[in-house]
């Protein structure tokens, strides 16, 4: 091993890379250093020691020694606050680009000691604080803005604590082998294509189900504004989309071929919008893009499959 790689701090702090399953914080994973307040306190202690020598004052000595000892003991307590903690992460729920994704992380305290002020967050971002009772497990959702479509590794999370006295900062880097799936942002100006691409379904006759009101559900991005339940919004019941259905069902093959003139991302977003609309309109639809063909189908699983195909278009699976 070359000297430079030995001295590589990043490697020292996280030699293992991403890890799957439950992580247990052992002494190899926990780092501890004095905080700025800790260093200042050290200097104050030195000044107090000099004062004690100078005035030959026993109680001043005693105070200095007491505070020194308390600080040293607090270091052990700070370390103990993290030691043995068990953590695992779950794959976050897929969201559309532009939304906020939530990474659920489970913390479990195996010891018989309550752990206070454990903080969890992305590096250099405001963390979330967790307290754990003995043998208690808790889910914490770390928010991360989903900026672009695709499957992204969640990267490194910092877990730290300064409890009890704030003179020491004990931390550990968590690198879960978990990736977040982000669907493309549904956008584009074109409405769901109607004529030439709509084929008659096996059941019922032609026609879109937009005549009969069958209920409502929470708003999803991409829903038509015409179908928004404005009255409900005015009554502060949140964003609701009215759903219409007919007794006829249609089949639609959404295909890359329909959008020849746009850029790739715009195409993907447009296709995504159509998939969303088709799902909301209870159409039976299929998706054809380079590298993926999803046969005509319906339902949540089919919907997710289609969106995933769009999300991963052009990326390694």
């Amino acid at each position: 091993m070359s000297l430079s790689s030995r001295l590589n701090l990043a490697r020292f702090f996280n030699a293992k890379g991403a890890e799957a399953g439950t992580l247990t914080l052992t002494q190899r994973r926990i780092f501890i250093l004095p905080t700025r307040a800790g260093v200042s306190f050290g200097m104050i202690l030195l000044a107090m020691f000099l004062a004690a020598i100078n005035y030959n004052n026993s109680l001043a000595y005693l105070l200095t020694f007491l505070l020194t000892s308390v600080t040293i003991v607090s270091m052990l307590h700070c370390y103990r606050n993290l030691q043995g903690l068990q953590l695992r992460a779950r794959t976050p729920q897929a969201v559309f680009a532009g939304e906020t994704q939530k990474l659920p992380i489970h913390l479990y305290n195996p010891s018989s000691q309550r752990r206070l002020a454990i903080k969890l967050g992305w590096p250099k971002q405001p963390p979330q604080q967790v307290d754990l009772d003995p043998q208690q497990g808790k889910w914490v959702n770390l928010e991360l803005p989903a900026l672009s479509r695709g499957r992204h590794p969640v990267g490194q999370i910092t877990l730290y604590t300064r409890f009890p006295l704030g003179f020491f900062h004990a931390w550990s880097y968590l690198h879960f082998e978990v990736s977040a799936l982000v669907y493309p942002k549904p956008s584009g100006i074109r409405r769901l294509p109607e004529e030439p691409f709509q084929q008659q379904g096996s059941e019922g006759d032609r026609g879109r189900g937009s005549d009969d009101f069958i209920g409502q559900r929470p708003y999803h991005p991409g829903d038509s504004l015409h179908h928004l339940n404005w009255k409900a919004l005015a009554r502060e019941r949140g964003l609701l989309t009215k759903q219409f259905g007919g007794d006829r069902s249609d089949e639609l093959n959404i295909s890359w071929q329909m959008l020849a003139e746009q850029t790739t991302e715009a195409k993907i977003s447009q296709l995504c919008r159509w998939v969303v609309e088709a799902e909301q309109s209870h159409l039976r639809y299929g998706l054809e893009i380079p590298g993926a063909h999803i046969p005509i189908g319906q339902g949540q699983q089919h919907y997710e499959q289609s969106l995933t195909a769009l999300a991963l278009y052009g990326q390694k699976p």
């Binding site: 100078n54 026993s58 000892s69 971002q125």
Partner: protein
């Protein structure tokens, strides 16, 4: 991997966080305790300012008052600085420094917002606690130290747990702070005993001239010692290596008064060359006794010792008149060991010494001189002259009183011939005047007489009320001899009971006085117990200096180690202690896993016994398939168990009840 990071990465800093309200309230309580002992010493305007600021802050926390603006704070700071300067005419020195620190600490309170501010206040607070010890090191101060540290530590805990008091941890803060403090105590002990004490000071100490001296002084005007007679304050405590000598031998010599103007007596002038002479040779007539004296600071140079010192402490000087002097003033508790001889004989009187011992102002106290001349004619020897004088005190109606009448005109004449009522200094002064008038060299010795034996601590307690004055005369055949004219006053002419028994016994038999009731005796016992505790405190804590440390190390068998070996031992001990503490803290019931995992593990192990593959890489679904194949009879049960587990482990809908149900199901499962 910064695809989710926001564009303006304003770096989050933990200590820029707003300090939580409950933490600030703890902090205010702790600071009140920190400032309190200082306030008792500060001028009124400082007290008022501090309390006003503290109240303001409290109103901010509870009533939502606004904190003052920057301009106002700046003005206030400058005003307070100027105020301190005008108070003390300096910003240097202990008094001014403490005032300034107290004010600035209070001032910081009105701009305290972030966690960082709070930490600064706490650090300053610790320093202020320390400066308080430069004024007072009593046991109460020690208890105060512990409680302040406990309170400040608790505040730190609350501040660093940024929860706004909504968790159940509330009761736990104090408990945890106490635990940390207790765990730190063994470490404190090691550090206190083994950190090498460096004799200070490292820089010049500011003169602490504000407080007056206590105890004896280098002058005696008649009426002075009476002032001390009513003071219960401790002068010093003595530990004897062997037996304690009889009470009538316990004459603790202090300043020797040679010079007189007829009314006032004083020590020799500082410049007098006689002061530079060392003790003359003398003959021992008995074994030397050894004892250690723990002297409370009296801001003078003299040390107290019995009669003739044969082995003096370091950094001290034994004068020709056997007065023991330290090289510096005693400003702190000082402990020294001395060896003395109580029976001795010396036989050399220098001419200048004789001259000084006969000095009397011309024309003063004519009646006294006449009486002395008359005795000179009668007596055949100096020894007989002493007896004549003592008989005079014994057979004339002389009273020993703490409240003697004021003496005007020629004081000794008035005392000897009309008032006949006096305290020890009257008798000593009168006796020496008589001796000098008759041509016998004599001097007044001041110091303490007797003491009170404490069985609890096995030491002799000497109080200010034991202050005494007596005489020494030069006799040809035996040299300087102590004569205590007060002792010849018959008991029925001694007014105070304490004065009567002080010469007879060190065991305080006030207890057996028929007048005293049980309540009084219990009170005395308590007092004595408290003093014993105080003595231990001053010996082992306050007076724990370089010499005491050396003494203790010798007792522990580490006496002949050099400083490096000592530090090495200390470091090793600390490491061993920390290792023990870590074992205790970190490895208690460490093996426990999450109960869900534990139950799943149990399930897998049970199945493995029936031949189901237990490889760690197998997922629950694969295991389930295998188990169903191997144990077809229990297909349904196995499937439901695994599905339950998958539900709990990988999906959102998991409640504590569901988990408990799964664990129970695993327990019941037999295959």
């Amino acid at each position: 991997m910064s695809w989710w990071r926001k564009q303006k990465p304003k770096r989050y800093q933990e200590d820029q966080r707003t300090a939580p309200v409950n933490g600030v309230i703890w902090l205010l309580a702790a600071l009140l305790l920190v400032i309190l002992p200082h306030l008792l010493r500060q001028p009124g305007w400082v007290v008022a300012t501090c309390l006003a600021i503290l109240t303001w802050r409290l109103f901010k926390e509870f009533k939502g008052w606004a904190l003052p603006r920057t301009v106002f704070r700046l003005l206030l700071a400058v005003t307070l600085l100027a105020g301190t300067y005008f108070q003390y005419r300096t910003l240097n020195g202990l008094d001014a420094g403490t005032t300034l620190l107290t004010l600035m600490l209070s001032l910081k309170l009105i701009e305290l917002r972030t966690l960082r501010d709070a930490m600064i206040v706490i650090l300053l607070g610790y320093f202020l606690v320390l400066s308080g010890f430069l004024y007072d090191q009593s046991i109460l101060s020690g208890l105060y130290l512990l409680s302040v540290v406990l309170l400040l530590t608790t505040s730190l805990l609350v501040l660093n747990h940024s929860d706004e008091g909504q968790s159940q941890a509330k009761k736990e803060y104090f408990k945890r702070a106490t635990a940390i403090l207790l765990q730190a105590l063994p470490l404190v002990l090691i550090l206190f005993i083994l950190v090498p004490r460096i004799p200070g000071p490292l820089w010049a100490l500011p003169n602490n001239s504000s407080s007056g001296t206590t105890g004896l002084s280098d002058k005696m005007s008649i009426g002075d010692i009476t002032r001390l007679a009513d003071s219960d304050a401790v002068a010093f405590r003595v530990n004897f290596t062997g037996e304690i000598p009889a009470a009538d031998k316990l004459y603790w010599r202090g300043p020797i008064l040679w010079q007189t103007d007829g009314r006032n007596w004083s020590t020799l002038n500082r410049a007098d060359p006689f002061n530079a002479l060392t003790a003359p040779p003398f003959t021992h007539l008995s074994e030397a006794i050894e004892y250690s004296v723990t002297l409370l600071p009296h801001k003078q140079r003299w040390l107290f010792a019995l009669d003739l010192v044969v082995e003096q402490p370091e950094q001290s000087f034994l004068r020709r008149d056997f007065q023991l002097l330290h090289k510096d003033k005693i400003n702190e508790l000082y402990r020294y060991t001395v060896r003395s001889v109580l029976d001795y004989k010396n036989s050399q009187l220098l001419p200048q010494e004789r001259k000084k011992a006969l000095q009397l102002p011309a024309n003063s106290n004519p009646q006294t001189r006449a009486l002395a001349q008359q005795w000179r004619q009668q007596a055949s020897s100096d020894q007989q002259l002493v007896t004549l004088a003592l008989n005079y005190f014994q057979y004339q109606p002389f009273y020993y009183s703490r409240t003697p009448p004021a003496l005007r005109g020629e004081p000794i004449d008035q005392f000897l011939f009309s008032a006949k009522k006096g305290f020890c200094e009257h008798y000593a002064a009168a006796f020496v005047t008589l001796m000098r008038g008759a041509g016998v060299p004599a001097r007044v010795v001041t110091g303490y007489q007797g003491g009170e034996y404490s069985e609890l601590g096995d030491y002799l307690l000497v109080r200010q009320s034991d202050a005494h004055a007596w005489a020494e005369v030069w006799l040809q055949e035996s040299g300087w001899v102590r004569v205590d004219p007060t002792r010849v006053i018959p008991p029925d002419r001694i007014e105070a009971y304490e004065d009567l028994q002080r010469f007879t016994d060190t065991r305080n038999d006030k207890l057996f006085n028929p007048d005293t009731r049980w309540l009084h005796s219990a009170w005395l016992q308590t007092q004595r117990g408290w003093d014993a505790v105080n003595h231990q405190w001053s010996q082992w804590v306050v007076g724990f200096d370089q010499q005491q440390q050396q003494r203790l190390l010798e007792r522990l068998g580490l006496g002949n180690l050099n400083i490096f070996a000592l530090v090495g031992i200390m470091v090793l001990l600390i490491l061993a202690l920390l290792a023990t503490l870590s074992l205790y803290l970190l490895y208690q019931r460490q093996k426990q896993r999450e109960p869900l995992q534990q139950a799943y593990q149990t399930l897998c192990q049970r199945l493995a016994k029936r031949g189901v593959d237990n490889a760690p890489w197998l997922g629950p679904k694969q295991r389930c398939q295998q188990a169903m194949r191997k144990l077809p009879k229990q297909r349904q049960e196995i499937k439901s168990l695994f599905n339950h587990y998958i539900q709990l482990r990988y999906t959102k809908n998991q409640t504590a009840d569901a988990q408990r149900a799964f664990i129970q199901a695993v327990k019941r499962f037999r295959c």
